[in-house]
Amino acid sequence: MLASLGLILLCQLIGEAVVRGLGLPLPGPVLGLLLLLVLLLARDRFALLARGPLRNDGVETASKGLLAHLSLLFVPAGVGVVQELDLLASHGIAIILVLALSVVVTLLATVLTFRLVSRLLKQQDAR
């Protein structure tokens, strides 16, 4: 468990270091995600890597534990709304309407594009 958490943190650390070092416009943890994915895939290919947290579902179990409470992790940032009460008092309704409309439009655009493209591909395969 400890080694698994350590491995997750190490992936994030390397991600942050590379992003900072090279000035990449992406978040460090996203690079860390790619790194852990590559490690898991490499483990299946090379038996040598299947040790420590990469053995017996170690890192898998730790990751699922973290993801089980993903919502909780947003609470501290969300409470930050108390700092913006003045702004919300003056523009709150407009801001909330703008965000609500935009999120609906974005959800629809994404889901419909996904469906459309995967249907088109299926039709092609069928031919």
Partner: protein, 240 residues
Amino acid sequence: MKDNPFSLWVYLSQSPLLWLTVTLLVYATTDAVSLATRRHPLANPVLHAMWIIGVFLLLTGTSYTTYFAGAQFVHFLLGPATVALAVPLYENRKRVVSSIVPMLVALVAGSVTAVVSVVLLAELAGLPRDVVLSLAPKSVTAGVAMGIAESLHANPSLAAVAVILTGIMGAIIVTPLMNRTGVTDYRARGFAAGLAAHGIGTARAFQVDEIAGVFSGIAMSLNALVTSFLVPLAVTLLVR
């Protein structure tokens, strides 16, 4: 301590322990309520934990800085949790690879829609320029959005609030909206949730369906990438 119970409060209210405990207990309660309502969208645990803790801070006159000294231990885990998304991605890699084309096209369509729609609507509503810029990156996860807002000389803490509000509204709206569109493909539904509502959408997607959660996590990561490039471009083109 006995002659002045107030001094105990003064001590505790300044300690990280109290605010970490409050965060965990309030969330445990709102999450239990959410579970008891069989994950009804309106019982969103983040939404209710947020306002309950917010009211508590206002009533006790506690500053956000003091609160965050305790809550930062929870906040910190956002990074490792993002790395941990590699695991569901790895376990479902075959399904992901087979949907790569619809995913990439939907990613471009969704990212562009997210940024352009919010900028145009905010301008239409006559919001000040600084607010428009802070709302632009609202569909990506908090850390990234704050970075984008900073690079545009906008208000990072407003950007974070816009991100959380978007996430909560997205998480509440996604299930009823998707049911109405008649889309039953959980890959598409999850992908839309993660793209439009980042980690809060992803948390919601995992509650509904494992595959939806996986696709939501991918969408959230990819959108963080695309939006970092897209916002500066859209702002130059669209904001007066």
